[in-house]
């Protein structure tokens, strides 16, 4: 394995770290994961999936333990969770979804935020991988957002009313053949942008850090102080981006769901 790695180019060393595998890579340890096939679909457990599960487990445990046995006055870590909850409610949910509908979408938005956040941050821990750096994962999350958009839009405006509301009112009939596909495309662009934004952001940070480390192997040990310093800065930036992208994903989901509910705007 080691000899093989040395033969590989630096590019494939990076790719090796950011792509999904049917093995769990814990440093030099490669644990094979079971192959499962259900109804003709390859449901194999992959490294990213394990990381997602680890993130989910950590998320559930952290939140349950920190918010357990609480009175009206929060203490310790529950304060931070509550501050985020208040922020998402007052600055994300209510401005975009309205005073009445906002609180109803809070559990979904909060879960989305923390799920994305924990997946993002897990990739920064040694041996961890970023599940949100996998386009299948971000596509699924974007698909869930899209389903929420459609569901909320149809629930509030009716099936016909929702699709009618996509087209601006008082449009000349001659423009309809142009506008219908355009608006439909516009609807699909939203989840697509969500998917690509999160995927690319998570991927890019890791690629940059891995590239900076990779320079050491190409140019020699003497560049390591500079490489590591830059990698450290990038690492700090990644922590920030992990939070930022989780927030952006949540904010845009709330915004898009809000747009589907209040189509008049």
């Amino acid at each position: 394995m080691a000899a093989q790695a040395e033969e590989q180019s630096s590019g494939s060393f990076i790719l090796e770290h950011i792509t999904d595998h049917h093995e769990l890579h814990l440093g030099p340890l490669h644990i094979p994961l079971p192959h499962i096939e259900l109804f003709g679909i390859d449901m194999s457990i992959t490294g990213h999936l394990v990381m997602m599960w680890v993130a989910s487990l950590l998320l559930i445990l952290t939140l349950i333990i920190s918010t357990k046995r609480r009175g009206l006055i929060p203490s310790g870590f529950a304060n931070a969770i509550e501050a985020i909850a208040i922020f998402i409610r007052d600055d994300v949910a209510i401005p975009n979804l309205g005073e009445r509908d906002g609180p109803k979408y809070m559990p979904f938005l909060m879960t989305l935020f923390f799920f994305v956040l924990f997946c993002n941050l897990l990739g920064l821990i040694p041996f961890g991988q970023t599940a949100t750096g996998n386009i299948n994962v971000t596509a699924t999350l974007a698909g869930i957002s899209f389903a929420m958009m459609l569901g909320a839009g149809i629930k509030h405006n009716g099936l016909f009313g929702f699709f009618k509301g996509l087209i601006p009112p008082n449009l000349p009939i001659a423009l309809l053949p142009l506008m219908i596909p355009l608006e439909f495309l516009g609807l699909l662009t939203k989840p697509f942008a969500l998917c690509i934004r999160l995927f690319a952001n998570m991927l890019a940070g890791h690629v940059v850090i891995l590239s900076l480390i990779g320079i050491i192997f190409i140019l020699g040990l003497f560049v390591s102080p500079i490489s590591i310093a830059f990698a450290l800065v990038m690492y700090m930036l990644e922590i920030f981006i992990g939070f930022l992208q989780a927030y952006v994903f949540t904010l845009l989901t709330a915004l898009f769901v809000g747009l589907c509910i209040h189509q008049e705007h």
Partner: protein, 164 residues
Amino acid sequence: MDLLSPNPGLIIWTLITFVLVLLVLKKFVWGPLLSALDQRETRIREALEQADKARAEAERSAEENKQALAQAQAEAQAAINKAREDAELVARDVQERAEADAQQLLEQARRTIQQERNQALQTLRQQTAELAILAAGQLLEENLDDEHNKKIVDDFINRMPEHS
């Protein structure tokens, strides 16, 4: 595996995982947390409203106290004024009555004196007449007994000044 290769299995697993996480968190975390938030906000709002109400109440009672104090002071002043007026009235009354009494006493004294004096004068006049008659009789011896002479003496006495 390729960077952009689709993996339907992972998509389905992600969906299942997310929904499970959502359900678990909704039941055990978001429900209690969000309701506690609402509860606390309601509590705080109520406490603030109560504080406002209490302050308004306190201000109102302070105002009432001030008014009551002012009223009490005014009443006290009025009572003092009335008492002073009454006292003056009584004093004037007493003085007037005393003056009247004094006047009356004085008048009475004056009348008594006048009476006494008149009496004294009467007595003096009689005695003087008798003395004069006695003296004149002794001087004239006999002639002075008759009616005519007595009249002369009386005239003389009557011509004597009233107030000697």
